[in-house]
Every structure is written in C-alpha cells, then in structure tokens.
Symmetry: C2
Subunit: 193 residues, 2 copies
C-alpha cells in the first residue's frame, strides 16, 4: 500500500509544475498571465456549471476528470496559444512523450486509465470529449472579452478566425454557449475595430 501511495504522491508532486506553465491569456483583472493549473480548475468548474448545454448527453463526472488532466502534458510540452503558429505533428510527438513520462509516474493501472482518458480527450470523438473540448475553448474567450480583447489585438485575431478556430469547436459540443459568445464577440469587434 505504501509503495502505491508513494507512486501516487510522486505523480501529484510532479503535477505541481503545471502551476508554472503560463498561457497566453491573462486573468480577468489583467494582473498577470494565467497558468495551466488554475486554468484547469476554472474549466472543470465551467463544465460543472454548464453541463446542461451539452448538445448530446454527457457524463459530467468524466468530463471534469478529463479537464483536470487535459493540460498535464504541458509540464514538458508547454502551452501553445490557439492563435499562435506551431507544427501540430511535432507538437503531438512531444505531447505523447510527455504523457508517457508523467502518467507513467502513477501505479500501472492508474497510468493506463489516466492515459486512456487523456487520449479520449485528445481524439475528440466521444460525446464527453467533444463537450470537454468545447468548454476548454470557452474560458479564454471570456477572459479576452473581460480584458478589452485581451490577446486578440496582439495576435491580430478577426471574428472570422474566432469562428474557425474557436466557434466550430464550441458549437460542436455546446451550440447554445457559442450563440451567447458570438453575440458578445460581435459586439466587441463592432465597438473596437
């Protein structure tokens, strides 16, 4: 038992590093950039609050678990801003390696289960994963809207780009939420560009 707890604690101690992975978006008060640990908490809370808007039936407990671990690979791979330019194939290799290493710290049965859940999220094919991916895209839009466009000007983001890179994914899992966001986005761009 003690050896098992040691392995679990090793994983949880390693996970602490996610609090030092910085994302492009800032907090809603613009005081600093958000880190991937607190982002993971926030979107798990988003899922808990907004599960009813999933386009198809989901198991919110699975969605929350996915979201709690979805960014852990960033400890090795870093965060890639959605409006930045990176090579997806190269990024995928790095993230797979990170998943091997980090989930591999857990006892074998849990390493497999966590890896399977992370794979499911990445594949974005099941209803749970589709909704989780939607929610992951909602929170940065809100952060940008709350901070006068946030990173949008810096990345020269247009409403058309938001529709392609964000809207399509949010719409796929939670169309009602995208409707609300779209209205707020259009209002912001009308007033600020």
């Amino acid at each position: 038992m003690s050896h098992r707890i040691d392995a679990q604690l090793a994983f949880l101690i390693e996970a602490d590093k996610l609090k030092s992975t910085l994302r492009a978006t800032t907090l809603c008060d613009r005081s600093r950039r958000e880190n991937s640990g607190e982002h993971s908490w926030h979107i798990a809370l988003y899922a808990m609050v907004m599960a009813e808007h999933a386009v198809r039936p989901i198991r919110v407990d699975r969605v929350i678990k996915m979201l709690l671990i979805h960014d852990i690979v960033e400890i090795d791979a870093g965060d890639n801003p959605i409006h930045g330019n990176h090579d997806p194939a190269e990024q995928d290799v790095i993230e797979q390696k990170a998943a091997d290493r980090i989930f591999g710290l857990l006892p074998t049965d849990q390493a497999s289960a966590f890896r399977a859940l992370w794979n499911e999220f990445e594949a974005a094919e099941t209803d749970d994963a589709i909704f989780a991916k939607s929610i992951d895209r909602v929170q940065p839009v809100i952060a940008n809207l709350e901070t006068d466009g946030g990173t949008w000007p810096e990345y020269n983001v247009t409403p058309a780009q938001l529709q392609t890179r964000v809207g399509v994914k949010v719409q796929r899992g939670a169309p009602a939420i995208w409707n609300t966001l779209k209205t707020r986005i259009d209002t912001w761009f009308t007033q600020n560009t």
Copy 2:
C-alpha cells in the same frame, strides 16, 4: 436560455478572482505562494488519484465537485492558514455571507445545489465531505515537505501540532495516507530540528 447562460457566466467570471487569493504555502519549487484557484485544481486531482484510500465508500465525482467549489468563499473572506490564529465564529459569518453572494450569482436552482454541496463540505459529516476534508489537508503537508518544511518554521509548527490540526482530519477520512505522511513528517523533524 441566454439569460441563464448570462447568469452562469457571471458566476464563472467572478470565480476568476480565486486565482488572486494567496495561501500560506508555496509551490513545490518555492518560486511563489500558491493561490486558491490552482490549489483547488490540485486537490481535485489528489481526490481523483487517491479516492481508493477513503476509509468508507465515497462517490468521487461528488468529492471532486465539492473540492472545485470549497474555497470559492475566499474571494470575499480570504484564506486562513491552518497554523495561523483567527476567530472561527467571526470567520464563519464572513464565509456564509460570501457563499450567499457568490453562489447567488448562479441561476436559482444551481445556487441552491452549489450552496448545499458547500454546506455539506463545511459540515464534514457525510463520508464524501469527510474524505474531501482529508484530501484538502494532505496537499499542504506535501508542499511543506517538498520545500524543506515550507511554512512550518515560520509558524513554529511541531509534530504534535501537525497531529492535532492536520493528522486527525486526514486520519478520519484516509488513514493510509496519514500513515505515509506521518513517516515523512517524523523523518523531516528528526533531521531538521
């Protein structure tokens, strides 16, 4: 529907402020103090990994939800270090008022459900709440052990105090985890005091 989503987003935007509530403990690399948002993520992950050590059967999905919202009142009430001195009765009044205000941002049905879950956590009487409270006490011990005692010297913490203020609570919900922690704590104090 849109009005409902607006209320949910108002709550989620308010929740962002939890990322600016600082705790006594630092990150495991000692780079800065931990905030209550990332702490909430970390202990939800702790619960997900360590649910099997609950002394009685629990529903881990409920425990995770409790932990995601357990510190939200700190947006108004701040964090009270476990080894600090504060008036619990006064603190309780402030936290109840904070819970009214913050959960009150949600649509009525969710405000009631979230408040009930938070009340259950605070009361620490159900098996789920007892385990959630245990887990909430584990992570700071690990953070302190990872940082050469962390805040223990500053607060003049003794092993006896840790047994009373932390051990009793961890033991109540997850005795196997406390066994492991106790061994690590005793080793640290033997080597460092």
